[in-house]
């Protein structure tokens, strides 16, 4: 058996097998398995020097061929029914399918040669078209937006901002802020008492939501009372405290 054909020419075990069948002028349907297996093994003997990755695929096929060969060499069981399968059947199917696609690949190749004779052109979009910017259709853009929706959106933005504040830390923050010093509060109250003769403690506390601020305000009142700058009266326990300024306006 001469190995005239270059080994690299085979794209896989099936390709090699088809080549051997053609070379021996035998039918796919009636593979002389002994002969073909021997030839196949000779080929891959030659290939051993080559890449093992490629080899492994060829070796699988070699094993298959040897398996088929051994099956065929075994004495056949007495012919019971005609159902007895040719051990080569599966390989035959595989070879047929492979051959079919191989054939179609040649067909495609011809098509490609023809198709290559057709030339296309690159897009030539005129600069005027390229530069065109679609005008914004404000009416369409604002179609779903109503004022109340805009209002809701703003409120939910604010709510989200509120929620984002770390509760524990923000408390710490307030403590710091509430280091409103007593003297600051007193200065404020003195100023206030200059323009207001009578005022109530509760009224004074409006807008001073934090406990600390209320406490400092209370302390300031006490301090100013001690200094005689204001006088306070309270009818009953927990009632509002009425404050009277003793400072001349």
């Amino acid at each position: 058996m001469e190995l005239s054909v270059k080994l690299e020419a085979f794209e896989g075990p099936l390709d090699l097998l088809l080549h051997l069948l053609e070379k021996n002028k035998v039918s796919i349907y009636d593979i002389p398995i002994v002969e073909i297996t021997n030839q196949y093994l000779e080929y891959i003997q030659e290939m051993k020097r080559q890449d093992l990755n490629i080899m492994s695929e060829f070796l699988v096929m070699a094993a298959t061929l040897i398996a088929i060969k051994s099956k065929m060499l075994l004495p056949k069981e007495e012919k019971e029914e005609e159902e007895e399968e040719d051990p080569r059947a599966e390989l035959v199917q595989q070879l047929l399918e492979y051959k079919m696609y191989k054939c179609m690949s040649f067909e495609l190749k011809d098509r490609q040669v023809d198709a290559q004779r057709v030339l296309y052109k690159l897009p030539t979009i005129p600069p005027e078209v390229e530069a065109f910017e679609e005008p914004v259709n404000l009416e369409e853009l604002m179609a779903d937006l109503t004022l109340s929706k805009l209002n809701n959106i703003f409120q939910s933005v604010l709510r989200r901002q509120e929620n984002k504040i770390d509760k524990v830390r923000s408390q710490f923050g307030k403590i710091e802020k509430e280091e409103v010093s007593l003297s600051d509060k007193m200065t404020f109250l003195e100023g206030y008492a200059k323009s207001h003769k009578h005022f109530s403690f509760r009224g004074l506390l409006e807008g001073q939501s934090s406990k600390m601020e209320v406490i400092v305000s209370f302390l300031a009142i006490l301090e100013l009372m001690k200094m005689g700058k204001i006088a306070i009266t309270q009818e009953n326990l927990f009632d509002d405290i009425a404050i009277e300024s003793r400072i001349a306006a």
């Binding site: 078209v129 779903d144 805009l150 933005v157």
Partner: protein, 190 residues
């Protein structure tokens, strides 16, 4: 070879090249003399013109180019420019609502409220003519202040910003209290 075939070849050449092609080059490709080539070229141009096609051949200083008929711009724009769908995304809407209620407002203030950068959103709103620059704030960095436009009012059919729905004070109070309650709970549970 006949005139018809030469003209067909010229057509294919101009199409493939896209750019302008000098008569000389065309003549060489066809193995024809310049005179004949020019004759066929002119005949082809005449054909194109008389058939009122969407493509025309124009002469540019001894070179020839295939291009579309000018009347076709409208269609070309519609196909070459994928219609950009302008939509007010959530980000844009939020930014717009902040600007509407807090104007004049700087980007830094918007970012403080939304917690994220607003460059893109603001410039989109400016592009849509809903928001405009109002001038710079006299503060470090002299940041630009933004406000809503007349277009903005017009698209809501209102005449002034005072007609914007008021921020519901009760609701605002609720937010605060809610936040405080949560804060207290947090402290209790920790």
């Amino acid at each position: 070879m006949e005139e018809k075939e030469y003209k067909t070849a010229i057509e294919a050449i101009l199409f493939t090249m896209g750019n302008s092609v000098e008569l000389e080059k065309i003549a060489a490709a066809l193995s024809l003399d310049m005179e004949k080539t020019k004759e066929y070229m002119e005949s082809l141009m005449e054909e194109y013109k008389s058939m009122e096609r969407g493509i025309q051949i124009v002469e540019l200083d001894g070179a020839y180019q295939m291009c579309t008929n000018q009347n076709m711009y409208e269609y070309l724009i519609r196909i070459a420019k994928q219609p950009k769908k302008h939509v007010l995304t959530d980000v844009l809407l939020e930014t717009l609502s902040i600007i509407a209620y807090k104007q004049p407002v700087t980007k830094a203030e918007i970012e403080k409220i939304r917690g994220v950068s607003c460059d893109h959103a603001v410039s989109k709103l400016v592009e849509y003519h809903l928001v405009c620059e109002l001038g710079r704030l006299e503060a470090p960095g002299r940041p630009m202040m933004f406000g809503t436009t007349e277009e903005f009012l017009r698209s809501f059919g209102i005449h002034s910003l005072e007609e914007l729905p008021e921020m519901n004070p009760l609701q605002m109070e609720e937010f605060k209290q809610e936040a405080e309650r949560e804060a207290e709970q947090e402290i209790v549970t920790t």
